[in-house]
Symmetry: C3
Subunit: 119 residues, 3 copies
């Protein structure tokens, strides 16, 4: 933990790999996580729909999953730090309505199973 | 909010983009959401497995994520409306066992962060 | 139910389809599910980042979603059984740090909607 998933619509000129590294840096600097535990991935969607109007729209949606036990205040700070990192990531196209959002999700510690092979 | 993710197995002849628009229309007409807030995307899976028998099987799974605060009754109605929209979406292949399902998930309002660039 | 999603980084030599079948077998043998209800899919990520160091790292992350009502002990056993199945799946590259993890998630029975077309 944590796990981060970055979803974005295919009409955005995002360099996903660079943004993931920037987010990981933000999370590492928050002091809440071990650097090597931060696991992030990006998903680009070519099939998407925002509402039902034919407007030019796009979105970026990050989901950050952490173990239970942190306060609402800490979770809010983490969400806002990730949002700011995404916001700073690039030149958002002026001809698109772009929604950026970050959701926090918690996982039960008791049932989380993991292992590690070290090289 | 809301966020919808439509997952489907690659052996189904779905036109994902059309189905997303139909689902968005259903959600907009429910009266529970602002039209432009409905963010939907589709994921096609070419690597999948249903059970362990060699039968010809397929599935469609929609996840609808909304903010906390709606009653179980409203959530059930939304799930059933999305399910009906999927069911009406196409000619389901007669030679496949097809499972359709809709799950509802709630997000904490307190830790949801978002912003918007308008063109 | 259950739904399983297997996420893995693209630098791992996984045969996703085979691993899904092995996991489904594990889940069917647990006695907690009907065989045909086990719906699994895999997602390979080519855009990913583990931490911020330039080390060679990889991960596999499985999410198992079940209906509410099972004990923490049963959920832990299921997570560990899935983890063991992944661990046995292959020759993990000796030159990569590989993290394997399994998360359990529960869905409200009351708002889960589904239907089935049988061939």
């Amino acid at each position: 933990m944590p796990h981060l998933t970055l979803e974005y619509t295919g009409n955005l000129p995002l360099v996903a790999k660079d943004l993931l590294l920037a987010i990981n840096k933000t999370l590492a600097e928050s002091g809440h996580f071990q650097e090597a535990d931060i696991k992030s991935r990006a998903l680009r969607f070519d099939d998407f729909a925002v509402g039902i109007a034919p407007d030019a729209r796009a979105f970026v949606h990050a989901k950050l999953v952490i173990l239970t036990g942190r306060s609402t205040e800490v979770k809010r700070q983490l969400a806002e730090a990730v949002l700011a990192t995404i916001q700073n990531a690039g030149n958002w196209p002026a001809d698109l309505d772009v929604q950026l959002c970050v959701e926090m999700q918690e996982l039960e510690r008791e049932t989380y199973a993991k292992t590690h092979f070290q090289s």
